[in-house]
Amino acid sequence: MTTSTSRSRRQGRRRAMWRTIVGSAIAVGLIGATGCATPTASTDATLDYWVWESLQVPAYQKCATGFEAENPGIEVRLTQYGWGDYWQKLTASLVAGAGPDVFADHLTKYPEFVTRGVLLPLDSLEATRDFDGSGFQEGLADLWVGQDGLQYGMPKDFDTVALFYDEGTLEDAGMTPADLEDLQWNPEDGGTFEDVIARLSVDENGVRGDEEGFDPGNVDVYGLASGGAGGDGNGQTQWAWLAAATGWEYTNADVWGDEYYFDDPRFQATLAWLFGLVDKGFMPSYQSVGTSPDPVQQLGSGQAALSPNGSWTISAYGRLEGIDLGIAQVPAGPIGHPVSMYNGLGDSISAQTDYPEEAAKFVAYLGSDACQIMVGEEGVVFPARPAGTEAAVAAFESRGLDVSPFTDLVDDGYTVLFPVTTNGAEILSIMVPVLEAIYIGSEDVSRMTEVNARINSILQE
């Protein structure tokens, strides 16, 4: 009697427990289901758009609003992640099938996306089928044409490189901004560019780099700021503008080259000259700037006089306090004129999107004068459409900044394109330690010949 009662009580408790477990499971399921509910009736499609540059968020929010007004029923959700997180989150979300519909894309990354088939070519969608590359600054549209001849990105903005400086520092050296115009450089003796760098370098006793008794071991102000070894970005702001001014090119083709030229004596002489500035006391050593040097900070703190950097950093320099900011063109090289790397960003459409046609409409809008003028007016970057570029130039001008040293190079065609090749990430992982070693001085520039052979063998695999 007692055993059967206790057993039935136990069974009752177990049943209650089962009920609780099953009940909870159903409840969780229901909550999950409501969480996945489709958007409200007024929205036909919600597009996720990702960007990495936080300063551009307000501008693209305006574009999104403008697009939504023109396309009722399509909603755009803008998300921003910092550069480091961006690519990891993007890749992970593409694997999970939960990626954005449209995202800001980079030239070092998109070739691998194309190979993996995660991008939709613009040519395959109605709104972007009639894409016209000639509506953008020259060459930008071609950067986004895959090896199959299809367009994988809508040109978004572009950047070039120039020299930032403080007019006060020039004055102290008895110089004027005019002295930074028409500078000449060569990898042998550095030309008038090195003369200026020497003049602007000051040791702790106040002796200048071009004066007798300059102590390169105890420098107070370096003539040239350091952006590091440049291994992780193809030397874009470090050595690309110097090496390209010797006539050197990265690869055997404008885009999709399959042979790098890091073994070229002109390239290696450029590196030797640049990193040789450390021993002369004209540029901070690797030891003093570390793994992530910041040329903006070096100018702001008065540690360096000339700070080479990309146009995307104009706002950052503009915010430095106590600096009378000036911008000068990079020096002319042995080929007779200055050269800057010309890098362009783009917007790509994910192949996983549920709304390819709507995404294409949005990308078409992102590439339109309407959106790019709005982006330009924010004065953060140079939009790819000429009208957008003009709006940006005007916005910078209203802040008292003459940005022609950046744009003139594009107008004159004195640019070299960012090298678009396959195996971008692998190539960078080979370049980084070797260039660091060359900067530190523990490896000779001739090591780049071996690196070049390794990279080319990867490309030809």
């Binding site: 057993r7 136990r10 069974q11 177990r14 427990m17 990891q88 890749t91 992970a92 593409l94 694997v95 691998e112 996306f113 993996r116 088939g117 995660v118 690797y286 030891q287 003093s288 700037v289 570390g290 793994t291 992530s292 540690q303 990430a425 692998e426 992982s429 980084v432 330690p433 660091e436 070693a437 530190i440 523990s442």
Partner: protein, 313 residues
């Protein structure tokens, strides 16, 4: 620690024989018990065994996340054995572990002995543990700034003392030592406390007897403390060596593996391959190598220190 072991054995013997005869399929309660164990079992299978097996499988494939994994046999391992950066990573990791554990154990042991012999204050014990409450990333970043070549107060002090500035994180010869010392700073209090607990287990009458015999503090340390502390020290070493092999955060937020490859320890190299280059197959092979190394090191340590046995009996 040591006194609880016999009690557990006794408890096992006293367990009612009926329970074991019925087994897990026998009674109603066992089924319910099985139900309660199930979540943990599923957790263990899903988050431990499955990833381990999948990681091993991936090490035989070429996988970039976006396309399907392709079986390539031992290619990743062949590549690994011929990869100079891998061998450099092993060397750097070993140097780090030796520096980190060597310094940490000596410092922690000294602290623990001082705590036991000089003061029993809980406040002192809490203070010594404080660095451990700071997260690795925060500790690393704070030292990164303190020791910055240009701006760091550490280098300012060196300069005031008339010495040359040192690139603690930026010079090839200093970087790995600096990172090891940051980890020592953070972990020494915790390790000291573990050792202190071991010291507490040594019967005080041994010291009293030694003192009566006229033994000095040094003699008591070498003849009583060290031999009786061996099991707990062995355990502490095993735990801290495994942790040390897995160093990642301190390096990731400071040197990122540089200068050149001076601090590219195995974990950082695995991360570079997996998350920077999306070469998950190769990264998995490197992880399997790491697992093998850790297993060998732990086995050797366990044998040498005889951590499972005590000399107290």
């Amino acid at each position: 620690m040591t006194t609880s072991a016999p009690r557990i054995r006794a408890a096992r013997i006293e367990a009612p024989p009926g329970k074991t005869r019925r087994g897990w399929t026998g009674g109603d309660d066992s089924r319910l018990a099985f139900l309660f164990v199930l979540p943990a079992a599923i957790g263990l299978l899903a988050f431990y065994f499955w990833p381990l097996l999948r990681g091993m499988w991936l090490s035989f494939t070429s996988w970039d996340l976006l396309s399907a994994a392709e079986f390539i046999g031992f290619d990743n391992y062949t590549r690994m054995f011929a990869d100079p950066v891998f061998w450099n990573a092993i060397r750097v990791t070993l140097v780090f572990v030796v520096l980190n554990i060597g310094i940490q154990t000596v410092v922690a042991l000294t602290l623990a002995v001082l705590m036991q012999r000089l003061t029993q204050s809980t406040l002192v014990r809490s203070l010594i543990l404080t660095p451990y409450l700071v997260s690795n990333v925060v500790a690393a970043l704070v030292f990164f700034w303190i020791l910055d070549f240009q701006l760091g107060i550490g280098n300012q002090v060196l300069e005031w003392m008339g010495l040359d500035r040192i690139g603690f994180f930026t010079s090839e010869s200093w970087a790995i030592l600096t990172v090891a010392l940051v980890n020592v700073w953070r972990h020494m209090g915790y390790t000291a406390l573990l050792i202190f607990a071991g010291l507490q287990a040594i019967p005080s009458n041994l010291y009293e007897a030694a003192r009566v015999d006229g033994a000095s503090e040094v003699r008591m340390f070498s003849s009583i403390t060290m031999p009786l502390l061996r099991p707990i020290l062995g355990l502490v070493l095993i735990i801290s060596v495994i942790g040390s092999f897995q160093v990642f955060d301190t390096i990731s937020v400071t040197t990122g593996g540089g200068p050149i490859n001076a601090t590219r320890v195995l974990q950082v190299y695995i991360y570079d391959n997996a998350f920077a280059q999306f070469d998950f197959g190769y990264a998995s092979a490197l992880s399997v190598a790491m697992l093998a190394i850790l297993m060998i090191v732990t086995f050797i340590q366990y044998r040498i220190t005889r951590a499972g046995q005590t000399d107290l009996n």
